[in-house]
Symmetry: C2
Subunit: 238 residues, 2 copies
């Protein structure tokens, strides 16, 4: 083969290999990072919305704690200052940028829901056992923290239990005065929030254990046992 042609072929092959390197794991990680950034952005913008709208109708602003609900109310124009409010009378021009901001926030919440639905579909298709037992967001977050499913599958369950709590774990290792953390991202699992305070450590251990089994099942394309594993787990701890 001519040298130029060989070089061309090798470049083509490499490009194909790079293209194949975009795995479902990478898509999951992009999506979960995107949701986390959306949350940070939403957090900033809703704070601003509340401060701004608080000048118009402070009583209403304080009475509604749900950010999305507040954006809705502002958009529906139900937020007009009442005669008795201590808020300022803003003309339509002054209200305009506030309405735009509320609309933006509403859009971002919608985007967040769509991205979450996407992650859920991807998780059910690729890692059904992990999705069933850990839940969509915790499962995806675990993959993201491990880097990919292959690495997550190789972790012992004690590592899975603490994924996401590295900071306080290393603090504990440096100084035994700090207690070892009981859980990382699995902390948000309903299973652990439901457990009594004294049983949370045990619940975390059991959950991490089952998650490890699910990861192995999913990685080797085993059958779907997610529902059974979940039922077992509930019997054990609750």
């Amino acid at each position: 083969m001519e040298f130029v042609a060989l070089r061309k072929k090798l470049i083509e092959d490499t490009k194909k290999q790079i293209a194949r390197s975009v795995t479902p794991d990478l898509l999951l990680i992009q999506s979960i990072s995107s949701i986390e950034e959306l949350d940070r952005a939403l957090n900033m913008l809703t704070k601003r919305l509340r401060e701004w709208f608080g000048m118009v109708n402070p009583e209403l602003e304080r009475s509604i704690t749900d950010h999305e609900a507040l954006a809705d109310i502002i958009l529906k124009g139900k937020a007009k200052k009442e005669a008795s409010s201590m808020g300022a009378d803003l003309d339509d021009v002054s209200m305009a940028p506030l309405l735009l901001l509320a609309q933006q926030i509403k859009n971002m919440y919608d985007l967040r829901k769509e991205e979450q639905a996407y992650i859920e579909a991807l998780m059910i298709a690729e890692y059904p056992n992990l999705q069933a037992v850990a839940g969509t967001m915790i499962g995806a977050k675990l993959i993201s923290l491990a880097g990919n499913m292959h690495r997550l599958m190789l972790f012992p369950s004690s590592t899975v239990q603490l994924l996401g709590a590295e900071k306080s774990f290393f603090k504990h290792l440096r100084n035994k005065m700090n207690k070892s953390p009981k859980y990382g991202v699995i902390f948000n699992h309903p299973f652990i929030s439901k457990a009594d305070k004294a049983k949370k450590g045990k619940a975390a251990r059991e959950l991490a254990n089952k998650i490890t089994i699910c990861c192995k099942l999913d990685y080797f394309k085993g059958e779907f046992l997610g529902d059974k594993i979940l039922a077992e787990l509930e019997k054990k701890v609750l």
Copy 2:
């Protein structure tokens, strides 16, 4: 007057006073903070968009440096992977969340423009001289840093020159090894970017000087001399 009625009247009066306390300055400050937060959010989300889209078409991602233009291209579907690209073949389902993110970013850029137009209108209406000489965004930012126009108007021009550079100024005061900063937020004024490097300090001093005059004119509802002041400034330094 009966005690209950008096109490009610006093509360009403206080509410009215609070309502009146929402000044144009506060609206300006809310808007400018909102734009700054939008910029931070846009920064995060465009980074994510680039990383994500880079998996589909890395060559195109690198060739377009403007974030808004990239979002446009992705939305118009012109970003399909070319046969020669080393990007991954994503099906429509996998492209969906990426498109949503691009749409979101596009919306945020639109919102930013509308908020900027609002600030410009408000600045021209309330502080025409400051707007003409400092420009909309720098003028609004100065008011935001000072807290309100009254305080800004009282600042000596040396303070106006350094507003927004407090951190490096105090570093200089603590340790004379660090040079004193030449300018704060006025740094972005075209007048200073146009000036030769050796003349930037002088340009900043002159600009701050004129801005101080404008603030006083605007605060006391003086006539509009913004264009003349700007012309004088250009003659002096350029």
